[in-house]
């Protein structure tokens, strides 16, 4: 121990000496950050230490720009067993079981190598789930791309989808839902967000902690290669001479087969109680995993550098310490359990190695030449890096960035400002039936079958509904219970008002879960934003987090985890602010679930909630252009909360034949979808105001399209009234056409403009709607067949 204390800095020979002047900058650390590092160490860092700091103080690992914002989120609630700070959130679902879930981004890797980027994204989020001891039950993927007409976008879409499927299908976790959105702002910066959920017995929930000094630090899974050392490869050129950096691969390649093996090994280790703590290796590799596991418990870890199994010869210490090679896990193991751990790994043919010891001194020490059982260097061994775990993890640098709204916002109207009837809304003079077909045939609203057929959604034999409808329903194996999952973002609204867009996304996502009859349990999220050092981008982020917090508080939902992805910009611009939301809900009886498809002739069609003005940010506006003075629709969070309470009650009471959230494309598209899925038409009468597009195609939140047997309609009205939710009767299910008759103030305007003889209503065969909807995506991607 004293020997350690007497070595405040590492001998120069160990790693090339204290960083050359300016080296920190090429590693992405600022001068101020170097000062802060000196402060925490009380000395200059050496090159290896600098590399470790550079990954841990990166935005990705430290959350240095977002941490202060995230602190404001509501994270506690009934049943929350693990919240932010853990690898994934966990919420009790009763009967001693917990659902574990999280959303995460893999944007930048996917932009560079779409197949591997997406594949390793799936691998990473699954590891987060089974690191908690949970068996993953499903994956959802939220994808955002630029214009599908561009060849580059098509290539990205194709390879990202192949990559998600390539990993998920192989490892055998069903991909049951997600989102696919096209918007010009994602052209050079596509978003690949992946959500996963798993189930675990509450008592087996594992934490990523290294609590007990003397325990072993065990690494299992793939050997460590030079994957993903990207930026830090400047160190390689400094140490090995110029010209070699081009050989350093920074692209990580996923191996779903090894992923499956470490999944099985991890769950068996947990099941048999052989591990004290588990931590997956992701960004920051061994450095991140060890420092976080130690820091959470206030302990330290001594690492035996030479013991780390490597894929390549001649790897430098820094490469081993920050490599992001996939499919690796760190376990904290009591010494008397090691043999059993090795045995489990051996049976699955997974390489395993003891790479260190938990210590009491709160430091991460990297030792070359072997370590003793107390974590000190073996004779002849040397400490090559020595950093307080907290300095790398919880006490990493934090910023309060400058936020300022964009100037144009001041000129924008308040959300939901009423639309002036005299504006030039483009539906005047157009046939609403043609607009409906165009919306159904648009790449953002058409059928997702092109993509979902590439994902195995039924492996595991628990998938009740893969989510064409908005939410996926899975049975909890061996029980009547069901889990319902959805993911949504409303970036086109957030582009105009990030608070509103994010709050709307939370509400929409929760509503998608609740329409099935499920009670939402918790929220996970992935915040995809631009450069936090740009005041406007940081304003977007802070407004979005405020919207997330406000919505979750209003809906009584805890935020149990998430992920932040910043610097989503390219020379062509910044992405639309994208707060991807994931919600998990619980169905007490999966047989009582409500689906979106029309079910029976003669059922009454009704609308819960009311349309409010505001077309900006809608798919309709995207297609037709919106009036410049128009704003996005406002949100009534109290109404949303009432819906979340009301819908499960309706489902429990068996009042609903079907229920579908009204969102993209508005009520007309919702009606069309329910008709397509049910292969049943409907005739409805819709009251429209001065601008019929608001009622037909507007996307104001807080609405659910329901159908019910006429005998249950009275009870439905009663229960809706009790919850203060308006319920309008629109018409009747039946036939093979969708007919929407317009009545009221705005009903005749369009017909007048076009001249007499043109009916002011929508009346189309369901088969036509289906065809338009089915061809949308293949034709947008240039893949229509036959």
């Amino acid at each position: 121990m004293t020997a350690v204390r007497e070595a405040p800095t590492v001998p120069a020979a160990a790693s090339g000496g204290p960083g050359a002047p300016g080296l920190h900058r090429s590693l992405g650390l600022t001068d101020g950050e170097l000062e802060a590092i000196r402060d925490r160490l009380g000395r200059d860092p050496n090159e290896l230490e600098l590399a470790m700091f550079s990954v841990m103080w990166s935005e990705h690992c430290s959350y240095k720009s977002s941490k202060t914002l995230l602190r404001e989120l509501p994270t506690t609630g009934e049943g929350v067993l693990a919240g932010p700070g853990e690898n994934a959130g966990a919420v009790s679902i009763g009967d001693g079981l917990a659902v574990v879930f999280k959303l995460e981004s893999h944007n930048h890797p996917s932009a560079v190598e779409p197949y591997q980027g997406a594949a390793t994204g799936v691998g990473g989020i699954l590891r987060d789930v089974f690191t908690m001891g949970a068996r993953p039950i499903c994956v959802l993927d939220a994808l955002k791309f630029g214009d599908p007409a561009e060849p580059r976008t098509r290539h990205l879409v194709r390879d990202v989808v192949r990559g998600i499927g390539g990993y998920g299908n192989c490892i055998g976790i069903p991909t049951v839902g997600g989102e696919l959105v096209f918007d010009a702002s994602y052209r050079d910066n596509p978003l690949v967000n992946v959500m996963a959920a798993g189930l675990v017995e509450e008592r087996r929930l594992v934490h990523a902690r290294a609590d007990r000094p003397g325990d072993l630090v065990v690494l299992y899974g793939s050997a460590t290669g030079r994957d993903g050392i990207g930026g830090a490869s400047v160190l390689a050129s400094a140490s090995f001479g110029e010209g070699e950096t081009s050989k350093r691969p920074s692209v990580q390649v996923g191996d779903p087969f090894m992923g499956k093996l470490i999944l099985e090994v991890s769950l068996e280790l947990v099941e048999r109680g052989l591990v004290e703590g588990l931590q997956d290796l992701g960004a920051g590799g061994i450095t991140c995993a060890t420092s976080e596991a130690a820091d959470r418990a206030g302990t330290g870890i001594s690492l035996d550098l030479d013991a780390v199994p490597r894929r390549e010869l001649g790897m430098a210490a820094f490469e081993v310490m920050i490599s992001e090679s996939q499919e690796r896990m760190l376990a904290i193991v009591s010494p008397d359990r090691l043999a059993e751990v090795e045995d489990v790994c051996g049976r699955w043919a997974v390489p395993v190695a003891v790479i260190g010891r938990v210590t009491a001194d709160g430091e991460i020490r990297v030792i070359s030449g072997g370590i003793e059982t107390d974590g000190s260097p073996a004779p002849g061994g040397r400490i090559v890096a020595r950093i307080p775990a907290a300095a790398l993890a919880s006490e990493a640098i934090v910023y309060r960035r400058l936020a300022s709204p964009p100037p144009r916002r001041r000129a924008a109207p308040a959300p939901g400002a009423p639309v002036v009837p005299s504006d030039s809304l483009p539906e005047r003079g157009t046939d609403p039936g043609a607009v409906l077909l165009a919306l159904l045939a648009s790449p953002n609203l058409g059928s997702r079958a092109w993509l979902t057929t590439q994902y195995d959604a039924t492996v595991g034999a628990d998938t009740v509904e893969a989510s064409e409808g908005g939410a996926a329903v899975l049975r909890v194996h061996g029980m009547r219970k069901g889990l319902v999952l959805a993911t949504d973002a409303c970036a086109s609204i957030a582009a105009r008002d990030p608070w509103l867009g994010t709050a709307t996304a939370v509400a929409e996502c929760a509503r998608n879960v609740a329409v099935t009859g499920a009670r939402p349990l918790g929220v996970t999220n992935c915040l995809n934003f631009g450069d936090p050092e740009a005041p406007e981008a940081f304003w977007q982020l802070s407004e979005a987090v405020r919207g997330l917090g406000d919505a979750c508080r209003a809906l009584g939902l805890p935020v149990t985890g998430g992920n932040v992805s910043l610097y989503n910009e390219s020379p062509s611009g910044r992405i639309a602010p994208t707060a991807q939301i994931g919600v998990v809900g619980l169905l007490e009886d999966v047989d009582r679930r409500v689906g979106p498809a029309f079910r029976a002739e003669g059922d009454v069609v009704g609308l819960l909630g009311e349309a409010t003005p505001g077309l900006a940010g809608s798919r309709y506006a995207e297609l037709a252009g919106s009036a410049p003075e128009d704003g996005p629709p406002p949100i009534d969070l109290a109404r949303e909360a009432a819906l979340l309470r009301l819908l499960p009650l309706c489902a429990d009471a068996g009042l609903l034949s079907s229920a579908q959230d009204v969102s993209g494309g508005g009520l007309a598209v919702a009606l069309a979808e329910c008709a397509i899925w049910g292969s049943l038409g409907a005739r409805v009468e819709l009251g429209v105001g001065a601008a019929p597009a608001v009622e037909l195609f507007g996307e104001s939140p807080g609405r659910v399209l329901v159908t019910a047997n006429p005998s249950r309609w009275g009870r439905l009205q009663q229960i809706a009234a009790e919850h203060d939710v308006p319920l309008g009767r629109l018409g009747t299910v039946g036939g093979d056409r969708l007919r929407i008759v317009l009545v009221g103030q705005g009903a005749t305007g369009a017909a007048e403009d076009r001249g007499a003889g043109v009916a002011d209503e929508i009346d189309r065969p369901v088969a036509d709607l289906r065809r338009a909807w089915e061809l949308a995506l293949p034709s947008a991607l240039g893949e229509e067949e036959g």
Partner: protein
Amino acid sequence: MTSYRFAVSVMPKEGILDPQGRAVEQSLPHLEITSVRDVRVGRRVELTVEAEAEPKARATVERLAGELFSNPLIERWAVDPIDKAAAPDGPQEAGVAGDGR
């Protein structure tokens, strides 16, 4: 115009994990083979180009190799001519070939 047939080999770059190669290596003990190592699995694309002269044909193939058949971040490629007379549809002219029957 003359026809030229080429083979493009695309292999994972050095240092890039090759899970296929690793899986093959791990299966070798089942075949009782212990003398094999450093297995790397890649792709081979064979194609015919019409051109006035070989260099022009080759240029087309090289463009395809770099732009369509490989991702330069993770893969390397090489182009080789195939002697048509020898094996029009076989994998390659040289070496021992078999159809395994």
